[in-house]
């Protein structure tokens, strides 16, 4: 049932794309077929690989930082009732500001290049990961903690065997959101003032009016993000179903 619906969705999207192509024309658009071919060609092109590697490397580093920092902040704040209450609105406010306005500050601190991209990607991911982790810890059913007390668990044992499994589903949701946002942040960082990477290629294709490249790159990026998010979503659902 689920697969049939996803296939239907795919067909609708492709059909809509094809219709747009017929409406707008070759001057500003490419058909789905052409774009898929172009994307394939691009992936096979040896000059493309260094850019892909650059973006992936930046993203992986950014995500690792976002995970480490976000989880630490979230778990620490979630453990204390007062700290959690004080911090949450601050984190939510940080979540909703256009982080792109902070990019120049990052560029000033790190200079143009990989570190700036990584930092920019990381700040996109840190905030949602910490917010979700904070709430995951805060919302642990108190009955589990009382059970741990009654079973005379040491604090370390209780943390390992009760708190973490109980909080895991929400934390994983935060990681999933953080993953997507870190990717977006890394890409955004490359679209402005970078010399290499997929975001840079995209901007370059735009200035050269290279429609084939623009659409092929966009397709690759969207497809990658959609597929990975789909997989993480499946994991998310599985964890939440047990609860």
């Amino acid at each position: 049932m689920k697969i049939r619906d996803s296939v239907a969705l795919l067909i609708i999207v492709l059909a809509g794309w094809q219709l747009l192509y017929w409406a707008v024309g070759e001057i500003a658009f490419r058909s789905p077929a052409t774009t898929f071919v172009n994307a394939g060609t691009m992936l096979a092109d040896p000059r493309f690989l260094p850019h892909l590697r650059e973006t992936l490397l930046a993203f992986v580093e950014a995500f690792a930082i976002a995970l480490a920092v976000g989880l630490s902040i979230g778990v620490t704040l979630g453990a204390s009732r007062l700290a959690g209450e004080v911090a949450e609105p601050i984190l939510v406010a940080l979540y909703s500001i256009p982080k792109v306005t902070l990019y120049p500050i990052i560029l000033l601190v790190f200079g143009i290049g990989m570190p700036a991209k990584v930092a920019f990607g990381a700040i996109h991911g840190i905030v949602p990961i910490s917010i979700f982790a904070l709430n995951a810890i805060r919302n642990i059913n108190p009955i589990y903690l009382r059970t741990g007390q009654v079973l005379r668990l040491s604090p370390l044992s209780a943390a390992r065997r009760i708190l973490i499994p109980a909080a895991l589903p929400e934390i994983v949701t935060g990681i999933r959101v953080g993953f997507s946002l870190t990717l977006i942040g890394t890409l955004l960082g490359e679209m402005f003032g970078a010399q290499r990477g997929l975001g840079h290629l995209l901007m370059q294709a735009m200035t050269r009016h290279n429609m084939d490249s623009i659409m092929a790159l966009t397709l690759l990026l969207v497809a990658f993000a959609a597929v990975v998010n789909g997989l993480l979503l499946a994991l998310d659902h599985r964890l939440h179903r047990r609860v």
């Binding site: 619906d5 969705l9 939510v92 909703s96 256009p98 955004l188």
Partner: protein
């Protein structure tokens, strides 16, 4: 203010004060960040000079247009989709995956299609905002108790009248949540797009100031955006909580 609120204010004030101290003390170099106090001074100067009024108005107008478009389209699509269960199921994976997609990746495409004016930025803002409105409209309409729909049938109300006079008013607080998110996303989309490439607007002016090494101007503008967005978002958040509290049983 509650104890928690006071503590929070103290934390924020403390952070700003530390930054001020670190910069003035020379630990954080001035060519990286100027002290917060000087940011405020720069901001006041910007507003007084009136040089950036056009940019501010441009950005705000574009944001407003994105919000309005997102609300109209979002509520309409959400309302229509809520009744069409089969269609909704098909689009479900799209709802779940939508915000993982880098919308900015579409920006070059939009520029090529629409040219270098304001339209591509409004589109990005719209694209980011509209899904939040659709999702929250669906959520709100889902919660309309069936008994109210039965009452509507007893009054012989047709589909459109039921939607306008019962379903949407009931879902209003949830649609407001969608509105709150639409505002936040429109700001993010429009200003982000202006930053990448544009010819006017606050985002453009920030990147221009950066490229010209004019830190005071840049930080003044950044501060303006941060204060504006935070004030708007927080006010909407408070308003939303009040609307929701009225509904809590």
């Amino acid at each position: 203010m509650s104890r928690v609120g006071l503590l929070r204010t103290a934390v924020i004030a403390g952070a700003i004060a530390s930054l001020e101290g670190l910069i003035r003390g020379g630990i954080v170099p001035r060519f990286t960040i100027i002290p917060p106090s000087e940011m405020v001074v720069a901001l006041v100067a910007i507003l007084r000079s009136g040089k950036f009024t056009i940019d501010i108005v441009t950005t705000l107008t574009n944001v407003a247009l994105a919000i309005v478009a997102a609300m109209i389209v979002g509520v309409a699509v959400g309302t229509a989709l809520q009744k069409a269960a089969a269609l909704r199921r098909i689009f479900d994976p799209l709802f779940a995956t939508y915000y993982a997609i880098p919308m900015y990746a579409f920006y070059p495409l939009l520029i090529v299609v629409f040219g270098l004016g304001d339209v591509p930025q409004i589109c990005i803002g719209f694209l980011l905002a509209v899904m939040a409105v659709i999702i929250n409209t669906l959520n709100g309409l889902d919660r309309v108790p069936r008994v109210l729909l039965k009452a509507a049938r007893m009054h012989r109300m047709g589909g459109l009248r039921t939607a306008l006079r019962i379903r949407l008013p009931y879902a209003a607080p949830y649609i407001f949540t969608g509105f709150k998110l639409a505002v936040a996303y429109s700001f993010i989309g429009v200003i982000g797009a202006e930053f990448i490439t544009s010819s006017r607007g606050i985002g453009y002016e920030i990147s221009f100031a950066y490229n010209n090494f004019d830190n005071r101007l840049m930080y003044g503008l950044i501060l303006f955006v941060l204060l504006l967005v935070m004030t708007v978002n927080m006010s909407l958040h408070v308003w939303e909580k009040r609307l929701m509290a009225r509904r809590r049983r």
